[in-house]
C-alpha cells in the first residue's frame, strides 16, 4: 500500500485512475436490484438495470475525462517545483517527470475537449424508424454510434495519459517499456477508432503492425541489455556502462535495438513511414496527440537511454554519429516529403518528422561530448522547451483541422481555401501556428529553434582552426556538430515553402464553399488561447517564465 507521501506525489495519476474507474462504472449505474432468495427483500445493486437519467447522459464520459485530465494537468503543474520521491524502486517522481506529465496531460486535455466536437455525443438520440429517409437513418445511426463509443474513446485517452506519465517517472527500463506499451496500445486503438471509415482502420492496423515490430525489437534489445548487466535499473545500467571495459556486444547491440524502437516513437527516418498514414487516418485530435505527446514520450525514452545511461563522462558517445546522421536524414526527409503533400494532415505529419529531426540534432550535439555541463543543459532546455510549446502550435494546427473535419473536410489542401474569408479568427490562428512551426520571430517556435541552434553552435564553439583567416580552412576543421546547426537552418528555409503555401491558400484563394464553419464555442476559444500562448511564450516575461520552469525540470534530470 502506498504511503501518504507517495500518494501525494502521485496525485495526478491517482486522478486519472479515478477517472478510468469512474468512466467504467458511472455510465453503468442503474436501478437493478437483487432479490434475496426466498424473501421479498430486494437489495439495490446499482449496476445494470435501467440506467438513471444522470448516468445515461452520453456526454458524461467526456466530462469525466476532461475533469480528470484537468486535475492531473494542474497537479502536474504545481508539482514541477520541488517534486521528488521514489516509489517501489521503479518510479521516481521528479521535477522533470512532472514537467513531462504536464506536457502530456496538456495535450490530452486539449484532445479530449476537441473530441467533444469531433465525435459529439447527443442527448436523446433515438433509433431510426421505418419511415425515416435513408440519409436520416444514416445520421441517426451515426449519432447512436458516437454515443455508444464515448466511454471507449475517453477510457483509451486516459490510459494513454496514464501510460505516458508513468513512463516519464520510470526509473527502471522494464517498467518504462511496460508504460510505453500501455500508452502505445491505447494509441493504436485510438488511431483506428473511426472504424467505419476505411482509411481509419487501415491506418490503425499499419501503425499497430509497424509499432509492434518496433516494440519487439526494443524488448529484444532490452533483454540483451539485461543479459549483459543483470539489472534494468537506470542507475545500475549507467554504472555498468561506465565500468565497461571496451565495448560489450550485448550492451551495444541491445542499445542499438532500443534506438530503433524509440526511433519509431519519435518518428525518425526511416522508422517514420507509418506515421503519416496514421496521422492522416486518425481523427485530428488524436493525430495531434501522436505528434506532440507521443513524440515527447519517445524523446524522454531517448533521454533516459542515451543521456542517462550511455553518455560517457567525457568524450564522444558511441551513438553520436548515428543520431547525427539520423537527425539530418530525418529533417531533410520530413521537409522534402511535406513539400508536395496535398493533404494538410500528412503535411503536418511530415512537418513533425522534420521537427523530430531538429531535436535529434540537438541530442546529437550533446553526444559529441564537446560541451560542458552548462551547454549540455542549455541544449536540453531547448529540446524540452520545444516539446512543451509544440503542444501549443502543432496540436493547435491539428485542432483547426479538427474543426474543419467536423464537416468532413480536412484531407485536401482545397478544404483550406479561403478559410480567412469564411472564418478569419480560425485562419488567423492557423497563420500563427504555421509561422510558429516555421520558426518566425517573435513566436515561441522561433525561440525554441533559436535556443537549439544557439546550443549546438555553443557546443561546437572553440573547434575549427583559426590560424588562417580564410573561411575554407576553418570550415574544414570545425567539428561536424557545427554542420548540424547549418542543416537545421537550411531545412527551416525549405520548410517555409509548405507552411506558407498553406497560409497562402487560406488567405488568397476563393473558398469552395462560402458557408461559415460550425460554431464550436469551446473549441474556438481553446484554439484562440493556444494562438495567444504561442505568441506569449515567445517573447518577454512569458518566455522567461516557461524557460525557468523548463530549466528547473531539466536540472532535476
Amino acid at each position: 500500500m502506498l504511503s501518504l507521501d507517495e500518494m501525494e506525489n502521485l496525485l495526478p495519476e491517482m486522478a486519472l485512475v479515478a477517472g478510468i474507474v469512474l468512466a467504467i462504472l458511472v455510465p453503468n449505474l442503474g436501478n437493478a436490484t437483487l432479490r434475496l432468495p426466498l424473501t421479498r427483500v430486494r437489495i439495490p445493486l446499482f449496476i445494470g438495470g435501467t440506467r438513471f437519467t444522470a448516468t445515461s447522459d452520453p456526454r458524461l464520459p467526456a466530462r469525466i475525462s476532461i475533469v480528470a485530465f484537468s486535475v492531473a494537468f494542474f497537479f502536474s503543474f504545481f508539482g514541477i517545483e520541488g517534486a521528488s520521491g521514489e516509489i517501489g524502486g521503479v518510479i521516481e517522481v521528479s521535477s522533470f517527470s512532472r514537467m513531462m506529465s504536464f506536457v502530456f496531460y496538456g495535450a490530452l486535455l486539449l484532445a479530449a475537449v476537441a473530441t467533444t466536437y469531433r465525435m459529439p455525443a447527443r442527448r436523446g438520440a433515438r433509433a431510426p424508424r421505418d419511415k425515416d429517409s435513408e440519409s436520416r437513418v444514416e445520421a441517426l445511426v451515426a449519432a447512436l454510434m458516437d454515443n455508444r463509443r464515448q466511454v471507449d474513446f475517453h477510457l483509451l485517452l486516459m490510459m494513454v495519459g496514464l501510460g505516458m506519465s508513468l513512463m516519464a517517472m520510470a526509473s527502471n527500463l522494464f517498467f518504462m517499456f511496460v508504460a510505453i506499451e500501455l500508452a502505445s496500445l491505447a494509441a493504436y486503438v485510438l488511431v483506428a477508432f473511426h472504424k467505419e471509415e476505411a482509411v481509419g482502420g487501415e491506418a490503425g492496423a499499419k501503425y499497430f503492425i509497424v509499432g509492434s515490430v518496433a516494440s519487439a525489437t526494443g524488448i529484444y534489445g532490452m533483454s540483451l541489455v539485461y543479459l549483459w548487466a543483470g539489472d534494468l535499473d537506470f542507475d545500475a545500467l549507467a554504472a555498468s556502462w561506465a565500468a565497461m571495459d571496451g565495448l560489450d556486444p550485448f550492451a551495444v547491440i541491445g542499445v542499438g535495438l532500443m534506438l530503433v524502437a524509440f526511433g519509431f516513437k519519435v518518428s525518425a527516418a526511416p522508422f517514420h513511414l507509418a506515421a503519416p498514414d496514421a496521422y492522416a487516418g486518425a481523427s485530428s485530435p488524436v493525430a495531434g496527440v501522436l505528434a506532440t505527446a507521443s513524440k515527447a514520450m519517445g524523446f524522454v525514452a531517448l533521454f533516459r537511454v542515451l543521456i542517462e545511461v550511455t553518455m560517457p563522462a567525457e568524450g564522444e558517445a558511441l551513438w553520436f554519429c548515428i543520431v547525427a546522421i539520423l537527425a539530418v536524414i530525418t529533417m531533410t526527409w520530413g521537409n522534402l516529403a511535406a513539400l508536395t503533400s496535398e493533404n494538410p494532415k500528412r503535411m503536418l505529419a511530415y512537418s513533425s518528422v522534420a521537427h523530430a529531426g531538429y531535436m535529434l540534432a540537438a541530442l546529437a550535439a550533446i553526444g559529441s561530448g564537446l560541451g560542458d555541463s552548462a551547454t549540455t543543459e542549455l541544449v536540453l532546455v531547448a529540446v524540452v522547451f520545444h516539446l512543451t510549446i509544440l503542444v501549443l502550435f502543432k496540436l493547435g494546427a491539428f485542432l483547426v483541422l479538427g474543426l474543419l473535419e467536423t464537416e468532413g473536410r480536412s484531407h485536401r489542401l482545397e478544404d483550406l481555401h479561403g478559410l480567412a474569408r469564411r472564418d478569419p479568427q480560425l485562419a488567423g490562428s492557423m497563420f500563427i501556428f504555421m509561422l510558429a512551426l516555421a520558426g518566425v520571430p517573435p513566436l515561441s517556435g522561433f525561440l525554441s529553434k533559436l535556443l537549439m541552434i544557439n546550443g549546438i553552435v555553443n557546443i561546437s564553439a572553440g573547434t575549427g582552426s583559426t590560424s588562417a583567416d580564410a573561411i575554407v580552412p576553418w570550415a574544414e576543421t570545425v567539428d561536424p556538430v557545427f554542420w548540424l546547426a547549418i542543416a537545421i537552418v537550411l531545412n527551416s528555409a525549405l520548410s517555409l515553402f509548405y507552411y506558407l503555401r498553406l497560409c497562402l491558400v487560406m488567405f488568397f484563394e476563393e473558398p469552395e464553399e462560402a458557408k461559415p464553419l460550425r460554431r464550436a464555442r469551446h473549441l474556438r476559444r481553446t484554439i484562440l488561447v493556444l494562438a495567444v500562448l504561442t505568441v506569449f511564450f515567445g517573447i518577454g516575461s512569458g518566455a522567461e517564465f516557461l524557460l525557468d520552469l523548463v530549466e528547473t525540470a531539466v536540472s532535476a534530470m
Partner: protein
C-alpha cells in the same frame, strides 16, 4: 457629397481609449513604467485596422461608425498622446530628473566572439536586444509635437479622407499606415540608442513611401513615392555607414554610453577628431536626405502627390524633423565644454552652408509655384534649412567653446522646429481644407443633377490645387483663411507671432558667430537674411492668391466650409500658432530646450517684467550689430516681402463679399496696393529656371540614366537569370526529390518494416564502424 452631418457622437468611441491613462494615473503608477503605451498603442492598431479593414470593408458600421478605421486610429493616437502628456508632465514636474526604468529586453543569449585564438562564448558584450527611452528637453519637445500633431491630423484626416468617394474601401489602408508611421515617429523620438533610432527612421521611410503612393494607380503618385524612397535611401546608406563608424569608435550605440564621454572611445582610447567628424558627416547626409535639404531635396515637392493629411503630418510636421533631431543629437560630440571633441569646426560650417543654400534656393523656387501644396512644400524645405543653419552655427559655437551663445542658438533652432511644425501642420491642413472644398465645388458643378457616379477622368483638366483657380475665398472659408493667415504670419516671422521668436534668434546668432570668428558663416548668414524677405513674399503671395481679390473661377461661388472634422484642428492650431510662440518664449522655452534651464517657468519676478524683458531682448538687444541684423530681418520679412506680394497679387474682395473680422483688414489692405502686370518678369529665363526647379531633377535623372540605370539593368538580368534561376532550380529539384522520396511511402506496412529493417541494419553497420 450630400450634407455633412454632425458626427460628434463618433467621438464617444475614443472615450475608453482616453480613459486608460487617467486610470493608470489614479492607481498611482509611474509614467515611466508606461511609456511603452506610446509605441504599443499605434502598433497594435496598425495591425487591427489593416486586418479589420480587409474583413469589414463596405460594412455599414465600419464605414459610418468607425470611419473605415479612422476612429480606431484616433483612439490609438489618443492613448499615445495622453501617455506622452503624462510623461511630459512628470518630466517637467521633476525638472527633468526622472528615472526611465530598465530598458525592455526581448531575449538574452550568448554570443560567440573571436578572441584572437579561437571562438568562444563572450562573457560580456552583447547581451540581448533591449529598448529603452532617453528623455531630455529635445526629445520631450519632439514627443509632444509628434503625439499632438499625429492626433490632430488623424482627426483632420477622418474628415478629409472619408468624404471623398475615390478613397472608399481603401481608407483602412490609409489609417493603418498612418498609425504605423506615428509609431515610427514616437519610437524614433524616444529611442535611447542610435540603432533603434535608425530602425524607426526606416519605418517612417517605409510609411512615407506607402502613403505618398497611396493613389498608386496614378503614375505620378507611384513615381513620386519611388523617388522619395530612393532619394532618402541615398542618405540612409550614409547614415548607416556613419552609425557603423560610431560603433567602431565607441563600441556601442547607446546614447548613455556614447554621450557619457564622447572624447574617449572603446577601451578608453582618445577619439580622433577627423574620424569622428567623418562619422558625423555621414549621419548628416542621412539627415539631409530625410529633411529634404540640398542636394537631396528633390523628393519633397513630388511627395505632395500623397493625400494632404500625409503632407501635413509626414512631409511638414514630423518626419522631416527627424533629420534635425539627428543633428541636434550631435551636440554632445562637439561641445568642448563637456567632454566634446575639439577641432570639428567644419562640421558646423557644412551644416550651416547646406542650410543657407537650401533656404535661399527653396524660397526662390517657391516664388513661381502655382500649386498651393508645392508652395508649402518649398516653404517647408526653406524653414527646415533655417533650423539647419541655426544648428550649424550652434555646432560651430559649441566647438569653439562659446557655450552660452551656442546653447542659445541651439535652443532657438529647436524652438523654430516647434513653431514651424505647429504652423506648417496647420497650413497644410488649411490647404487641404481649401483643396477639399474647391474639389467638391467642382464636383458639385460638373455633376449637378445627373446623379451619376464620379468620373475621375473629368478631373484631368481641372486642378483643385492650382491657386490660379482660386481667389476671393476669404469670405467663403473664414476659418481656413484665418488659420492660413496666422500660419503664414508665423512662418514669415511677423513680430510677436509664433516663428518670430525663434527665427530672430537663428538669424541673430548666425551673424553673431560670423562676428566672432566664423568668417565662413558669412555666406549662410547673408542667405538666410535674404530668405527672410523672400519668405515674406511667397507666403503672402500664396495667401493673397488664394483668399484675396476677385475670384478667378466661377466655382468659387459654390465653395463653403462644411466638414466639422476639418475645422476643429484648424481652430486649435490657430490659437497655438498665434500665441504659443510668445507664450513659450516667456516661459524660457529656448533656454529650456538648450538645457540651460531645467524647467519651464517665468524667470522674472512678475509677468509684466518678463514680457518687457523678452520684448527688449527681441527688439533692442545690447549688441548694436545684432540690433541692426534684427531690424533688417524684421524690415525685410514684415515690410518688404508682404508689400511686394500685395502689389503683385493683391486685390479686394468682390462687391458685397465680406470676410470675417480677423482677415477683413488684410483683404482690404491688399486691395489698396492693387494688382500689377508681371508678365514680363514671369516670362524671363530665371522664372523658367525656377519653374523647372533649377533643373535639379533633370540633372539627377541624366546622371542616373548614365550610371545607375545600366547597372540596374545588369542587376535585374542577374537577378532574373542567376539568382532566381538558382532558387527555381533548388525549388524544382526539391519538388522532384519530394516526389521521389514520397514513393518510398508505398502505403504497405510490409515495406515500412522493410525500411525499418534497413535502418536498423545501417545503425549496426555504423556502430560496427565506430567501435572497430
Amino acid at each position: 457629397m450630400g450634407e455633412h452631418k454632425q458626427e460628434w457622437d463618433r467621438l464617444l468611441y475614443i472615450v475608453p481609449f482616453l480613459a486608460i491613462v487617467p486610470y493608470l494615473y489614479s492607481t498611482g503608477a509611474s509614467s515611466t513604467d508606461y511609456w511603452w503605451l506610446i509605441i504599443a498603442a499605434p502598433l497594435v492598431f496598425f495591425a487591427t485596422i489593416a486586418i479589420a479593414g480587409q474583413i469589414w470593408n463596405g460594412d455599414e458600421t465600419w464605414v459610418n461608425r468607425l470611419k473605415e478605421g479612422g476612429i480606431l486610429g484616433l483612439g490609438a493616437l489618443s492613448v499615445s498622446l495622453s501617455a506622452a502628456v503624462w510623461l511630459i508632465y512628470d518630466y517637467l514636474e521633476h525638472h527633468g530628473h526622472i528615472e526611465t526604468g530598465d530598458p525592455f529586453s526581448w531575449l538574452t543569449f550568448d554570443v560567440l566572439t573571436y578572441n584572437g585564438e579561437g571562438w568562444s562564448v563572450a562573457s560580456t558584450g552583447f547581451s540581448g536586444i533591449g529598448f529603452g527611452i532617453y528623455l531630455d528637453a529635445v526629445s520631450i519637445m519632439l514627443l509632444f509635437v509628434a503625439t499632438f500633431l499625429c492626433f490632430l491630423i488623424c482627426w483632420f484626416a477622418i474628415g478629409y479622407m472619408t468624404t471623398d468617394s475615390i478613397n472608399d474601401n481603401s481608407n483602412h489602408r490609409f489609417f493603418a499606415e498612418f498609425v504605423l508611421f506615428s509609431m515610427g515617429m514616437f519610437g524614433m523620438v524616444l529611442a535611447d540608442n542610435f540603432l533603434w533610432l535608425f530602425i524607426f527612421w526606416e519605418i517612417m521611410g517605409l510609411c512615407s513611401y506607402l502613403l505618398i503612393g497611396f493613389y498608386y494607380w496614378k503614375p505620378s503618385a507611384a513615381y513620386a513615392a519611388k523617388k522619395a524612397f530612393l532619394t532618402t535611401r541615398v542618405g540612409d546608406v550614409f547614415l548607416m555607414i556613419g552609425l557603423l563608424m560610431l560603433y567602431d569608435i565607441y563600441g556601442s550605440l547607446d546614447f548613455a554610453v556614447v554621450f557619457d564621454d564622447p572624447s574617449t572611445g572603446v577601451g578608453g582610447a582618445l577619439v580622433d577628431a577627423g574620424q569622428l567628424q567623418t562619422a558625423l558627416l555621414m549621419l548628416f547626409i542621412g539627415a539631409v536626405g530625410k529633411s529634404a535639404q540640398f542636394p537631396l531635396h528633390v523628393w519633397l515637392p513630388d511627395a505632395m502627390e500623397g493625400p494632404t493629411p500625409v503632407s501635413a503630418l509626414i512631409h511638414a510636421a514630423t518626419m522631416v524633423n527627424a533629420g534635425l533631431y539627428l543633428v541636434a543629437r550631435m551636440v554632445p560630440f562637439v561641445d568642448v565644454g563637456h567632454h566634446g571633441v575639439a577641432g570639428m569646426e567644419e562640421l558646423g560650417l557644412i551644416v550651416a552652408w547646406i542650410g543657407g543654400i537650401t533656404a535661399f534656393m527653396a524660397a526662390a523656387i517657391a516664388f513661381v509655384q502655382n500649386d498651393i501644396k508645392k508652395v508649402l512644400a518649398y516653404s517647408t524645405m526653406s524653414q527646415l534649412a533655417y533650423i539647419f543653419t541655426g544648428l550649424g552655427a550652434a555646432l560651430w559655437l559649441f566647438n569653439n567653446g562659446k557655450h552660452h551663445a551656442g546653447a542659445l542658438v541651439f535652443g532657438g533652432a529647436l524652438f523654430h522646429l516647434f513653431n514651424h511644425a505647429m504652423a506648417k501642420g496647420m497650413l497644410f491642413m488649411a490647404s487641404g481644407s481649401v483643396i477639399h472644398e474647391v474639389h467638391h465645388a467642382h464636383d458639385h458643378l460638373s455633376h449637378d443633377g445627373d446623379g451619376s457616379d464620379h468620373d475621375h477622368g473629368s478631373h484631368h483638366d481641372f486642378d483643385p490645387q492650382d491657386m490660379r483657380n482660386m481667389g476671393g475665398l476669404a469670405s467663403k472659408l473664414p476659418i481656413t483663411a484665418t488659420a492660413m493667415m496666422f500660419g503664414s504670419m508665423s512662418i514669415i516671422g511677423i513680430p510677436l507671432i509664433g516663428g518670430f521668436w525663434s527665427k530672430e534668434i537663428i538669424v541673430g546668432k548666425t551673424w553673431y558667430a560670423y562676428f566672432h570668428g566664423a568668417d565662413a558663416l558669412l555666406g549662410p548668414a547673408l542667405l538666410i537674411l535674404a530668405t527672410a524677405g523672400m519668405t515674406g513674399f511667397y507666403m503672402s503671395r500664396m495667401w493673397f492668391m488664394t483668399f484675396a481679390g476677385e475670384p478667378k473661377n466661377e466655382l468659387v461661388d459654390h465653395v463653403h466650409e462644411a466638414t466639422p472634422w476639418i475645422k476643429t484642428p484648424l481652430v486649435l492650431l490657430s490659437v497655438i500658432t498665434a500665441l504659443g510662440g510668445f507664450g513659450l518664449a516667456l516661459f524660457g522655452m529656448v533656454d529650456w530646450l538648450s538645457g540651460e534651464y531645467d524647467h519651464l517657468a517665468l524667470h522674472k519676478a512678475t509677468f509684466l517684467d518678463q514680457v518687457i524683458y523678452e520684448l527688449e531682448h527681441a527688439f533692442l538687444p545690447e549688441d548694436m550689430q545684432l540690433r541692426y541684423v534684427g531690424w533688417t530681418t524684421i524690415a525685410l520679412s514684415f515690410i518688404l516681402g508682404p508689400i511686394m506680394a500685395a502689389r503683385v497679387y493683391g486685390g479686394a474682395l468682390k462687391e458685397g463679399e465680406q470676410a470675417t473680422g480677423l482677415v477683413h483688414w488684410l483683404t482690404s489692405l491688399s486691395g489698396k496696393f492693387g494688382s500689377q502686370n508681371v508678365d514680363e518678369l514671369a516670362n524671363s529665363q530665371l522664372a523658367e529656371a525656377l519653374q523647372q526647379r533649377l533643373y535639379f531633377d533633370d540633372l539627377y535623372e541624366g546622371i542616373l540614366a548614365r550610371t545607375i540605370v545600366p547597372f540596374a539593368n545588369f542587376a535585374a538580368w542577374f537577378d532574373a537569370n542567376v539568382v532566381d534561376g538558382v532558387i527555381k532550380q533548388i525549388e524544382s529539384n526539391s519538388v522532384l526529390g519530394s516526389v521521389q522520396i514520397r514513393r518510398v511511402t508505398t502505403g504497405s506496412a510490409r515495406d515500412y518494416i522493410l525500411m525499418a529493417a534497413v535502418g536498423a541494419l545501417s545503425i549496426f553497420a555504423l556502430i560496427w564502424g565506430v567501435s572497430a
